[in-house]
Amino acid sequence: MRLSEADSHALAGAPAPTYLEDGTTVMSWLNTRDHKRVAVLFLFSVIFFFFIGGVFALLLRFKLLQPGPFFVDAISYNRLFTLHGVVMIFLFLIPAIPSAFGNFVLPLMIGARDVAFPRINLLSWYLYWIGAVIAIWAMVHGGADTGWTFYTPYSSTSPTQVAPILLGAFILGFSSILTGLNFIVTVHTLRAPGLSWMRMPLFVWGLYATSIIQILATPVLGITLLVVTVERIGGFGLFDPARGGDPVLFQHMFWFYSHPAVYIMVLPAMGVISECVCAFSRKNPFGYRAIAFSSIGIAFVGFFTWGHHLFVAGQSTFIGGAFGILSMFVGIFTAIKVFNWVGTLYRGAISFKTPFAYICGFLYFLVFGGMTGIALATTSLDIHWHDTYFIVAHFHFIMVGASVMAFLAGLHYWFPKMFGRTYSEGWGLVAASLIILGFNATFVPQFLLGNFGMPRRYYQYPEHFQALNVASTAGATLLGFGFIIILIYLAIALRYGERSVPNPWGSKGFEWMTASPPPTHNFDEIPTITQMPHDYRTHEPPGVIRVA
């Protein structure tokens, strides 16, 4: 076995190179076993697709400035919103925090040298790109126009490139499953000595709960999409009433995955926020067990709520009620977390840095987005709101307002850890403000549009909806600017930013036990962990932290 550069350096007595320097050829990146490099590969990939999905969104919102036909035709518009959803969900939201940050930080947080299956980790990234390329191929050839929810019989009969998008999503599902599998095995088998379950950092709990969902829910999506593909190609008719099939069965099977999927998107986000709240208020979590177990609670109960997407789909009234009350229960876990995060601030030492600005945004959006979810779960209120812009605003509050804010919080928190550089704090706060403002301006009008009665996926709309649509588009533009500003200053920081100290935030997170950026092998010696996580009773200088 050839010695890596790191080992050669070590042998020569020099300090170990960071994981970024350890091999500078393209192949050393494309053939890496290092979880940190896989994480960086994912990070750039998901950011790339975030911008593509964002472009689709801006095109949509531009069209919606006018109530009548304008800018694009109806079919193109339908393709645009379908692709916006598919790209944002499958190519950004599902993988982003676990694969970009989880991959980097999880082994460091548990004192391991890597994830359990490094090569499968890399395979996960390749599968991501294979799925992405197939989806891009489909997009270039017109894409699908079914909406990302692919309801039958429209999706089994639509004359657009549905099958490749389904295939792409299927492969992306595998990528997601493998990441989840890797994380579960890593947490079970690679924890450093002394790291019991109740000493694990809260982000690890969040990732663990996410991974459970990834493993159990994603295959059901896989088979559902496979059956739709087979329907399109072979006319099998499982969802086609003309052949005895039931279109509502598709909805049940689809949402059996897609509802837990939203928890795949939000649980890691909540984990990031737990880390950042503790780090930036320099305080132990108010209720460690509550936050840890509520993640598991969400993962479990979340599997039993899918029917709340079918309240007016022809489902029985009784079952609708059952799903409604279960959806209420799943909301309790989030409430527990919110109270505990706010409680963590009590008698803390709060530093209002950029990640903290995103925490504020996150809390605000999660509470309002979550409460609109509770309102929807009352069943009768959903009758008016289902398939209107109210729903669109609700899920964007959670998926963008919560998940993306958390992604940005994590990005700004771990940027020094991953790249060893600092970014401009001033621009960070400016961008955060723009994003929070722009987000409100984009999506609050959409709640009102939903109340007003505007259905979603509408190319043309009755004129009385125009004012709110214009307001929403203006907000979206502001939001877009915010993201572009982030891209710019972080790119500059990557190249020209001041070198960072090992622990610029004075955080007690276990990932700060090693240099920033870390060497390939993470730790010179695997630490023995005797401390509780997030313990700020003592001050930590900005060097590497001690946990024993």
Partner: protein, 350 residues
């Protein structure tokens, strides 16, 4: 107060009996949410200021949530959420359960239009005329993909599925015009698949119906709108009679009581039939429809299971027309008035 909140929240007019009650729940939920969220938010802001970092070497005490507080964190939201759920579910059951005295209208959705048919009245395209103040039940099916019948001002919405009937009901409080929007994505014309509910004063509605029977489209608010372009096609019973002849039903089923290859249709509706397996069934819409689609499943005693299946051969509205025709075949005098509808027992009977 109701009006102020309604306008503030951009809610449309409360044009149905259901809308006003629903909006009350909406206001309750949203006001409580705002109050509680503001409380939480203000607490957080107070903490931001009071507990801001004062020095780089500052440490903090280890504080854990006392169990009673955690119990509060759980019990307060839980009670509120469950309370809202019960209020909401009560309304939901009410909205899902058409009252027994509802007047029926058959709705057929297809890309990208709405067709309406009255049991003993005309057909219409995209315009649904109903009497105000009357319970109206919609029996809906789709010709092709899933659509959804949505009238924002009534707060009524129900998906319309191919191969199945779904139902919804409303009671328009006062005369007026209310927009129908399709609320389930169905392709290029989804956003222009619109219609109108025109609620007429009861007497005007009767007048309109009467004129329809004579084949003329013209009354006060029955003035044609730009959406109203279909000529009346005759009523469902006539259509049913025509379809029965065309599809060959009358080769095996008589309409005058004589026993033939299949049971006679005279007085068939709601007749108690004994089946070959010994059980009895009441011949309601569900049984009659099943007999057309899967005839071998429940065969009347004394007859051979030779009836072919009409699945795929009869569209939803054609089945509806046949049902109305069968219902009209009563041995006493000609039946007038709206159809009785299937023997559904409403949940919690209202």
């Amino acid at each position: 107060m109701n009006e102020f909140l309604r306008r503030l929240l951009f809610l449309p007019d409360q044009a149905s009996t259901f809308a006003r009650d629903l909006d009350q729940l909406h206001f309750f939920v949203i006001i409580t949410t705002f109050v509680m969220s503001t409380a939480v938010g203000l607490t957080a802001i107070v903490f931001f200021v009071r507990y801001r970092r004062r020095s780089e070497t500052q440490t903090t005490p280890h504080i854990e949530v006392p169990p009673w507080m955690e119990a509060l964190f759980i019990s307060v939201p839980l009670s509120l959420f469950v309370f809202w759920f019960f209020l909401g579910y009560r309304e939901f059951v009410r909205q899902q359960t058409p009252p027994a005295d509802s007047m029926d209208v058959y709705v057929m959705a297809k890309k990208w239009m709405w067709k309406f048919a009255y049991p003993d009245g005309p057909n219409a395209v995209n315009v649904l005329r109903v009497p105000a103040g009357r319970n109206v039940r919609l029996l809906m099916t789709s010709r092709d993909v899933i659509h959804s019948f949505y009238v924002p001002e009534f707060r009524v919405k129900m998906d319309v599925l191919p191969g199945r009937y779904t139902q919804a009901w409303f009671n328009a409080v006062s005369p007026g015009r209310y927009q129908i929007l399709c609320a389930e994505f169905c392709g290029a014309g989804h956003s222009i698949m619109r219609g109108e509910v025109i609620a007429l004063k009861p007497q005007e509605f009767e007048d309109w119906l009467a004129y329809q029977h004579r084949g003329v489209v013209a009354t006060q608010d029955g003035a044609p709108t730009e959406l109203d372009f279909a000529p009346p096609l005759g009523n469902l019973v006539d259509q049913g009679r025509r379809i029965a002849a065309e599809q060959g039903c009358l080769k095996c089923h008589s309409t005058d009581g004589t026993r033939h290859i299949g049971p006679t249709w005279l007085d068939l509706y709601h007749r108690r039939e004994r089946l070959t397996d010994g059980s009895t069934v009441e011949a309601d819409e569900a049984y009659l429809t099943q007999s057309m689609m899967d005839p071998a499943f429940r065969v009347v005693e004394g007859f051979q299971p030779v009836m072919p299946s009409f699945q795929g051969k009869l569209a939803g509205p054609e089945v509806a027309a046949l049902l109305e025709y069968i219902k009209s075949l009563q041995s006493d005098a000609v039946r007038t008035g709206p159809s009785e509808g299937p023997a559904y027992a409403p949940v919690r009977g209202r």
